[in-house]
């Protein structure tokens, strides 16, 4: 008994506390993911649940993965997803970087107000905000009419349009994704930029650099970790996004989230849906892992310099 108590006092608490996050990950990520992997190699059956192993079918059925590579529907969905998510991430970066930089340059009082404004949209339901965009982009909205009038005023009469086709396009998907995910870009960037020493900018100016040069030489290289963090936080959920493309997107070129959802719910092809989900995860996780591996190796190398 006392041996157990002794062990517990010596390392038990520490191990328990370190172990908790791992337990969480095992229970809520690793196990479900293993189930999905297992499902992805099952065979579709007309039973409930609609998949099975063995019997008339092979124990391990790679049909889903084969179709993933051969059926252009899936490949196109992946490409659409990556293009939309990539465009949205890039636009978020272009919009969010100046905003984050601006946040670090205003007075403390303004900073708090502006930071509050950045996260304020989260206080309204996400769906409500998407529906608001649908209203704005619709043919008869004042917003669309304003754009239409602007367009008609700019171009010759032959090109005039009745309304700007925005709804059910990839443009709409990217627009709403940029709007939704912008705070996820701004906040990590702000956290990164805020830590930078403003005196470094002065030092660079003092040594002959104009402000634009200072940005390229001093601010930008030091904000790369923030850019990567913000980029991942936008890109990963955007690539798997289901709600936005379903509501405002083009159903003829679905994104991968939509495909997974349809395979599960409409087609009731759970193995196929699982295969797509596993492929999506790999697509997201592998570059991230490669990056952090490279990053830790680079840091290691630096600290080892004699």
């Amino acid at each position: 008994m006392s041996v157990v108590a002794q062990w517990f006092n010596r390392r038990g608490w520490r191990d328990l506390i370190i172990g908790l996050p791992y337990l969480w990950l095992v229970a809520f990520f690793l196990l479900p993911f293993l189930i999905v992997i297992a499902m992805s190699v099952a065979t579709r059956t007309p039973t409930a649940p609609p998949f099975g192993y063995g019997g008339d079918n092979p124990a391990i059925n790679l049909e889903g993965y084969r179709r993933l590579l051969s059926d252009t529907l899936y490949l196109r969905a992946f490409v659409t997803s990556l293009m939309n998510a990539g465009t949205a991430t890039l636009l978020c970066l272009l919009l969010g970087y100046p905003m984050a930089l601006g946040l670090t340059r205003v007075s403390k009082g303004w900073r708090n107000i502006l930071l509050m404004l950045v996260i304020l949209p989260f206080w309204t339901s996400f769906l409500l905000r998407v529906y608001a965009w649908m209203g704005l982009m619709g043919r008869n909205s004042w917003f669309n009419q304003l754009l239409t009038d602007g367009w008609n005023w700019l171009v010759p009469t032959a090109w005039a349009v009745n309304s700007v086709p925005m709804m059910h396009t990839n443009f709409a998907v990217v627009l709403v994704m940029v709007y939704t995910y912008l705070p996820f870009m701004i906040l990590p960037l702000y956290a990164n930029l805020e830590r930078l020493d403003p005196q470094l900018d002065e030092a660079a100016m003092d040594l002959g650099s104009r402000p634009s040069r200072v940005f390229l030489d001093v601010t930008l290289p030091q904000s790369i970790p923030g850019i990567i963090a913000g980029g991942l936080l936008v890109f990963i959920p955007a690539a798997g996004e289901l709600v936005i493309p379903t509501l405002v997107g083009n159903s003829a070129s679905p994104m991968i989230g939509r495909v997974i959802s349809d395979e599960f719910a409409q087609a009731r092809d759970w193995p196929m849906a699982s295969a797509v989900a596993v492929a999506l995860l790999m697509l997201m996780v592998l570059p991230t892992m490669a990056y952090s591996h490279y990053q830790s190796k680079a840091e290691h190398r630096e600290d080892d310099t004699p």
Binding site: M205, G208, E302
Partner: protein, 367 residues
């Protein structure tokens, strides 16, 4: 470039306001080429603001700054041949020591070989050649300071500004670095302006010192001038230690003034200063080392009595705090020139002692 008549740096009536706060008030200074000039003052005295105006980070609200005969108004920091060594060093953390030093050189028309040679030369000057590849976080504080110095000197500035150059170093390193800075200044011939709150640092480093207080320059002079001939109670009290007593001029004879000092219970002779009139109230300031202390009445001009309240023994010397008849305290410094036990010392606690000072040693302040 050289041989130009007139001072190298001219600061004419410069003021700087931040909102309603006036950080620098009507400062006039001239600084010669190749000089080490110190701006000395407590925090908030305006010394750093003045430095930032020289670097171009702040524009003066009034007045003009000339560097090498050129009016600097409207010239941004990146177009000034003035470089600054920041208090925090402000080294670029993502660049190696070598690239930090080379940073300013990319704005100069140099061939790759010339640039490399200049960096080599700078690394050599600050003895950091073997650390060229390291990042700033991989070297010590003293080495970082030298990288900052090399980076600022690499573009061969006309003027180098040093913001509290030794503040971040520990005591031992400070003394060493101080002499190194002076030797580098001599070798490069660059004019240095040093901002510091540390009087010792200013006195050993600088050829001339400007003592600043609440935005104004109170006195400019060599270390000796400022220490021995302060022009105000502020400067006398700020540099070194001083005991001050109110007095009144009783009589003026030649260059001697007879001063009635109630605290010392008598009249005393002191070297007169310009502007004295009979009957005028003055402040008499005495440096501790200028006050002699002994247990027997000395044969001297200005002698008065006191009682030892406190003494501090430092080994090489002792500091006495002596109570005067009227209750005021005076500090007296005695060098322990002769070896002896505690019972042999000049005076002990509660001893009646005689104090004296030379007429020339008393500082008369009229402000």
């Amino acid at each position: 470039m050289t041989g130009e008549p007139g001072p190298f740096i001219r600061i004419e009536g410069v003021s700087k306001r931040f909102g309603t706060f006036e950080a620098v008030k009507d400062v006039n200074l001239t600084i010669d080429k190749g000089e080490i000039f110190a701006l000395l003052g407590g925090s908030g005295c305006g010394k750093t603001t003045l430095l930032r105006m020289l670097a171009g980070f702040e524009e003066p609200s009034a007045g003009r700054i000339f560097i090498d005969g050129q009016d600097m108004a409207g010239t941004p920091p990146w177009d000034r041949a003035v470089h600054m060594m920041f208090q925090s060093y402000a080294l670029f953390p993502h660049m190696s020591v070598e690239r930090n030093i080379a940073y300013g050189l990319k704005h100069e028309r140099l061939t790759t070989a010339q640039r490399r040679d200049r960096v080599r030369e700078m690394l050599d000057l600050v003895q950091l050649t073997q650390f060229a590849e390291r990042k700033p976080h991989q070297i010590s504080g003293g080495q970082r300071q030298r990288v900052a110095l090399a980076r600022a000197l690499a573009r061969q500035p006309k003027l180098l500004l040093l913001d509290e150059p030794l503040a971040a170093l520990d005591k031992k390193l400070r003394e060493h670095t101080q002499f190194e800075l002076m030797s580098i200044q001599q070798r490069t011939g660059v004019t240095f302006i040093v901002v510091t709150h540390d009087q010792e640092e200013a006195m050993t480093l600088a050829d001339r010192i400007a003592v600043m207080d609440r935005g104004t320059v109170r006195q400019v002079g060599s270390a000796g001038e400022i220490y021995e001939y302060p022009n105000s109670r502020f400067v006398a009290g700020f540099i070194g230690t001083v005991s001050t007593f109110p007095g009144r001029v009783v009589r003026l004879t030649g260059d001697l003034a007879e001063i009635d000092i109630p605290a010392m219970n008598g009249t005393f002779a002191a070297r007169a200063v310009p502007g004295l009139t009979e009957g005028r109230n003055v402040t008499v300031a005495l440096r501790p080392e200028k006050v002699q202390i002994s247990k027997i009445c000395p044969d001297a001009v200005n002698v008065f009595e006191g009682q030892v309240k406190d003494l501090a023994y430092f080994g090489k010397d002792s500091l006495y705090r002596v109570t005067l008849p009227a209750g005021d305290l005076i500090l007296a410094h005695a060098v322990n020139a002769r070896r002896g036990s505690d019972s042999d010392r000049t005076a002990d606690w509660d001893d009646k002692v005689w104090l004296s000072f030379e007429p020339a040693s008393a500082i008369l302040l009229t402000d």
